[in-house]
């Protein structure tokens, strides 16, 4: 590792698997359930959180020595709210349809526990560079799960990926549909997202027994 020392690299790789914010810390579940019915929405959500958490962690880290600890939560909220408004406006300007699909959930990034959690737990006590890596790593860990869930939900629920029909046309009955296959409507409902996340947790913990807590 030329660019990153071993310790720094761990900041990025840990949240991807063994310390994943969704499957291990069980944070940010709300948005994982709400917007993963389509793969595109999951990707945009992941990128938005990547931006907010990466930049936010750096900003908090730069200000960490001048924030009075009594009002630190308010300061954190202002930082994250500012960044979320930027994301929201960019989406409205360049991807209006998508911002309608994501609707209130872009705004709700503010309340995403992962972001406040990283500000509190990491950025307040570490240098900007390490905070940046930590932010990127956690957002990527969040994004990976969102994209896996979004992939299965869109594929099995609508038979499409990124809006492109991959299993054939369900109305004209081509491809898989011609032999009687049907889309699974349950996949589009939020409970199924919870079950898919649960299955990921199951697979992950049966591969690495150390993650099982009593």
């Amino acid at each position: 590792m030329g660019l990153l020392s071993k310790k720094d690299a761990k900041l990025i790789t840990d949240p991807l698997a063994d310390n994943n914010p969704i499957t291990i810390q069980v944070l940010g579940i709300c948005s994982a359930l709400a917007i993963t019915a389509e793969l595109e929405a999951s990707i945009v959500m992941s990128v938005s959180v990547l931006f907010v958490l990466g930049v936010g962690n750096v900003v908090i880290s730069l200000m960490r020595n001048i924030i009075p600890s009594k009002i630190r939560i308010i300061v954190q909220l202002i930082v994250v709210a500012t960044l979320v408004i930027i994301v929201d406006l960019v989406l409205k300007a360049f991807a209006y349809e998508l911002s309608k699909t994501l609707s209130v959930f872009v705004g709700l990034i503010i309340t995403n526990c992962i972001i406040m959690g990283r500000f509190e737990a990491f950025a307040l006590g570490n240098s900007p560079w390490r905070s940046f890596l930590d932010g990127i790593g956690n957002a990527a860990g969040y994004g990976v799960i969102l994209i896996i869930v979004g992939f299965f939900r869109e594929l099995l629920g609508s038979g499409t990926l990124l809006g492109i029909p991959v299993l054939g046309d369900p109305i004209e009955k081509t491809g898989l549909y011609s032999i009687g296959y049907e889309n699974n409507g349950f996949m589009l409902l939020s409970p199924m997202a919870l079950i898919v996340v649960g299955i990921i947790i199951w697979v992950q913990r049966s591969r690495n027994k150390a993650l099982i807590e009593d």
């Binding site: 009687g180 296959y181 049907e182 699974n184 409507g185 349950f186 409902l189 079950i195 649960g198 199951w202």
Partner: protein, 399 residues
């Protein structure tokens, strides 16, 4: 060499290997094992888990046979060439449609049970024997087999195995399977086409331009939810000559099955009785609302609300759910007082959902699943209440 000793030898041969549970299960399912335990005192009881399961299956067999006759009877009646109910023609249609459902249900479910037993290295559990029989009885006759297979796999893995297998499950696996089918493939599980064999295909042919009459076999609940009168008599409802899921139409045979379960002390009479009481109370409340004039005839709830309260017991899956699913000993309340509360709420909520959910006028499935989730809570408060009472007595004595 008899089959028994063959199985015994196979079992010995695979002892200690990964596949052992599978051979053990086969052997003990068919025969009493030869070995006896060597130490300690043991009480031998005749009704082990397998015997219990088989008793429940016996109670359901009349419903299955009746379902086969009824499937054919409804098919011919809807297609304008009615046949006698107890005719070979009717039974034949039912047999070729329903037997595959049974085979797929057992095949997929048991395969998953064996697989998990081998992976986890425990004995194969008998829990699926009843579930496998329940599933074909609670689906529409034309359910595609692959859908059933997917649903069974989902229900057994997510509904049961993730919680630790038989005896650990929170939700009734058969109802988990039914709920999965309902939410995943609603067009095959509700509406006026799915209840009669051939109606879905007929509507497809018509869509393709064939000059045929549309076939519809609306269930009684379905037509009541749309505010229409039903043409079936009370006797039809009671004996079961009505469209519906395979095995749930005949209230008479379900009643007999229920009595059999009560007599053999396998089903809880408390749950059955309190559930019926709950349904009657809710039905009476709705009838009261109608006769008090609080709801106009134009309301979309009027049709089901004005149904005479005791008809609710005869139509839809209420009787079947109450007798065979609400009484599942694993997912029901364990305490006697808890059973009264649990059953009452199942009946009460069933009719509530039935009336207020016109898109899916069958609330029994959802009511039982909901109460499954609350059963441990009910038990907790019943036990705590008892503890409190006894503490009071203790204090009086010591004071």
């Amino acid at each position: 060499m008899s089959l028994k000793s063959n199985l015994h030898n196979l079992k010995e041969k695979y002892k200690g290997t990964k596949m052992a549970p599978a051979f053990n299960a086969l052997h003990t399912f068919l025969y009493l094992p030869n070995e006896t335990t060597h130490n300690g005192t043991h009480i031998k009881v005749a009704d082990d888990l397998k015997r219990t399961m088989n008793t429940v299956i016996m109670a359901m067999v009349p419903c299955l046979i009746f379902g086969m006759f009824n499937a054919g009877y409804q098919h011919y009646a809807a297609f304008g060439t009615p046949v006698d109910f107890l005719s070979w023609d009717a039974f034949y249609i039912g047999l070729i449609k329903i037997l595959p459902l049974v085979v797929v249900s057992y095949g997929v479910g048991l395969a998953i049970e064996f697989l998990f037993a081998v992976i986890k290295g425990h004995e194969v559990e008998e829990g699926y024997l009843v579930t496998g029989m329940l599933v074909p009885l609670i689906v529409p006759v034309d359910t595609p087999l692959w859908m059933l297979a997917v649903a069974v796999a989902f229900g057994v893995v997510i509904g049961k195995e993730v919680f630790g297998g038989t005896g650990m499950n929170i939700l009734n696996p058969a109802l988990t399977i039914r709920a999965f089918l309902f939410f995943a493939y609603p067009t095959w599980m509700s509406g006026d086409k799915v209840w009669v064999h051939g109606a879905v295909e007929r509507s497809k042919e018509i869509a393709n331009g064939a000059n045929l009459d549309a076939i519809s076999g609306e269930t009684i609940l379905g037509s009541l939810a749309q505010g229409q009168e039903t043409s079936y008599s009370v006797a039809d409802m009671f004996f079961g000559f009505i469209p519906g899921s395979v095995g749930e139409t005949s209230t008479l045979l379900i009643l007999l099955g229920g009595l059999f379960l009560i007599f053999t002390k396998i089903g809880s009479w408390r749950i059955m009785v309190s559930s019926v009481v709950g349904a009657l109370v809710m039905g009476l409340i709705f009838n009261g609302v109608v006769s008090a004039g609080w709801i106009s005839e134009s309301s979309k709830f009027f049709g089901l609300m004005s149904t005479e309260f005791w008809h609710h017991l005869l139509i839809g899956g209420f009787a079947f759910g109450t007798v065979f699913m609400a009484t599942d000993p694993v997912t029901a309340s364990q305490t006697n007082k808890g059973k009264w509360i649990y059953g009452f709420l199942i009946g009460f909520i069933s009719i509530l959902i039935r009336v207020f959910n016109p898109a899916y006028p069958e609330g029994v499935m959802l009511a039982i699943l909901l109460m499954n989730v609350f059963a441990p809570t009910i038990d907790h408060y019943v036990v705590q209440g008892n503890v409190k009472q006894r503490m009071k007595r203790l204090k009086v004595k010591t004071a």
